[in-house]
Point group: C2
Chain length 242, copies 2
DNA sequence: CGAGGGTTTGATGATAGTCAAAGTGAGTGG
DNA sequence: CCACTCACTTTGACTATCATCAAACCCTCG
C-alpha cells in the first residue's frame, strides 16, 4: 500500500519543482518500496556501506556524527522531501548517521539502481548534483553560524532556518510549526551545551521573539528574529524532488 | 601558452583518478583558457552570478564567507586540483567567495558549456556529483570540528587535514609542507580568535607536535598529532579531476 | 630609518561549560 | 487512583575556556 510517485503529496507543494510525466515514471520505476520507521530508529550509520538511499516522505529526522569521546554533532535536520544517503550513493560510505526523530515514511531506492537512474536522464543527474551543491551551500552557512555567531544569534539563526523551511512546506499555521526535537538536538547542532541552549531559548522567549515548547515553535515576527540572527531573509528557491 | 589537459601535471599525481583518452579530450574541449592571478586576488564573489568555473592548477587559495558585522568564516583551503565554482555552475550563485592566497593558475571553463559537459558523459557527471558529495562530507567534518572540539584539538585536526592533503599531492618533503596562509586565516577557519589560535599553535610547537613558521608546516609524527585531534587516520581515496 | 603587515606575549573580562538539583509531565504498576 | 520512574526542561552557582585589549617584536620593503 505504498504511495505512488504519481500521487506523491510532496509534488503538490509549490516548494518543489514540477516534474514531467516521464520523470515521474522514471522515479517510480527507480523506487524499490517504502520504509516506515518508529521515532528513534537509526536509518543509516556513519561509515556503513548502505545498500539503499531514501527520500523522506513523511516525518522528521536528523543527521549527526559521533566522536570517539561521545560528543555528537548534529549536521542538520531532516524534513519531508529531503534526499538521504547521497554520500552512500556516490561514495559507498556515509559521512554521518541518520535517525528518525518522529515516525517516518521513506521512499526507498536501491543503490545498485542509483547509477542507472543517474544515467537515465541528464536532467535528473543534474537534479541530484543540484541537491548536493545546495547541501554544500547550507553547510557553509552552518559553519559560519557556529564559527562566528554568539549563542543568541546562533540560536536565532537556527530557528529562522527551521521556520522558513517549514513554511516552504506549508507546515506553518498560525505562526506555529511542529518542531519535534529535543533541546539537546539543537544544542548538538550549534555546538553549545544543553544548559546554555536552554537559557538562550529562554531569552528569546522573554524577548517575544520565538517560543518553542511542547514540540511546537512559534514565531510571530520572523523579520525581528532574523535581525537578531544578523541575516536578511531571501526568497527560497524551488528544489527538485527525487 | 596554456597547459594542455593532455600534459596536465596534476594527472600524473597518484591521488587523482586516471582518465581515459576520451575524457581528456572532452575536458580539453570544455576548457576555455587559463587564468593567472596574483596572491590576494578575489576569484569569485559570494552571491555573484559567475560566468565561469575553474580548476585550481597551481597555487593555493581559500573559500570564505563574510558576515554583515565584518566577521569572516573560512570555509576551507584550496589546493591544486580543487574544483571551484560548483555552486555557481549548478545554481548560478556562489554561497561563498574565493580568493587566491598565493599566485595561482586556474583552468577556466565557461558556465554556459557546463551543462553541455555534464551531459556529454554520465561518468563525468558522476565525477562532478562525487566531488560535491565529498565536499559535503568534508564540511560535515569541519562542522563537527568547530562545534565539538576545544581549541587544541581543533587546531590539531586542521593541521592533520592540511598535511594529509598536501601529502597526497606530493607536496611534503622532509616532514615539511608549504602552508602560505596567515594565522588569521586559520583562526577564521576554526572560529577562534587570532590571539587564541596563536597561543594554541605555540602549545603544539612546544609539545613538538607541529611547527608552522615562515609559510612552512613541519609535522614529524602525524599519528601523535592525530591523537591530539582525536581522530584516526584513514586511507585517502583517489578523486576525480575536472 | 620609518612604516606596515604579521606574529607574539601579557593582562583582564565575558561568554559559555560544568555540576548539581529541582521542576514538570507522561507513562507504569501496585 | 496514587505513588514512582523516567525523560526532558529549567534554574542557580561556580569555573574555565576563549575573546578582547594593548603593546612589543620581527621582518621586509621603500
Amino acid at each position: 500500500m505504498t504511495t505512488s510517485c504519481e500521487k506523491c503529496p510532496l509534488r503538490k507543494i509549490d516548494f518543489f519543482d514540477d516534474m514531467t510525466k516521464d520523470e515521474v515514471e522514471k522515479t517510480q520505476r527507480f523506487k524499490a518500496g517504502e520504509l516506515t520507521v518508529d521515532a528513534g530508529t537509526p536509518i543509516l550509520m556513519e561509515g556503513s556501506n548502505a545498500p539503499q538511499v531514501y527520500t523522506a516522505l513523511r516525518g522528521m529526522g536528523l543527521r549527526y556524527k559521533l566522536l570517539p569521546d561521545g560528543n555528537r554533532q548534529v549536521i542538520n535536520f531532516i524534513f519531508p522531501g529531503d534526499f538521504i544517503g547521497l554520500q552512500a550513493g556516490m561514495m559507498g560510505e556515509m559521512g554521518h548517521s541518520v535517525e528518525a526523530t518522529t515516525n517516518m515514511t521513506l521512499c526507498v531506492f536501491d543503490r545498485s539502481d542509483f547509477f542507472e537512474f543517474f544515467k537515465s536522464s541528464s536532467d535528473r543527474a543534474f537534479d541530484i548534483t543540484w541537491i548536493a551543491a545546495t547541501e554544500e551551500h547550507f553547510l557553509g552557512d552552518s559553519l559560519t553560524n557556529i564559527g562566528q555567531r554568539d549563542a543568541i544569534s546562533s540560536v536565532a539563526w537556527a530557528l529562522v532556518m527551521l521556520f522558513r523551511r517549514a513554511d516552504a512546506l506549508n507546515m506553518v499555521h498560525n505562526d506555529e510549526m511542529p518542531l519535534p526535537f529535543k533541546q539537546q538536538d539543537l544544542a548538538d547542532a550549534l555546538g553549545l551545551s544543553l544548559v546554555h541552549t536552554n537559557k538562550t531559548l529562554a531569552r528569546l522567549r522573554s524577548r517575544q521573539l520565538a517560543a518553542w515548547a511542547d514540540g511546537k515553535l512559534t514565531v510571530h515576527d520572523l523579520g525581528e528574529l532574523a535581525q537578531v540572527a544578523g541575516i536578511e531573509l531571501e526568497e527560497m528557491k524551488k528544489r527538485p524532488l527525487i
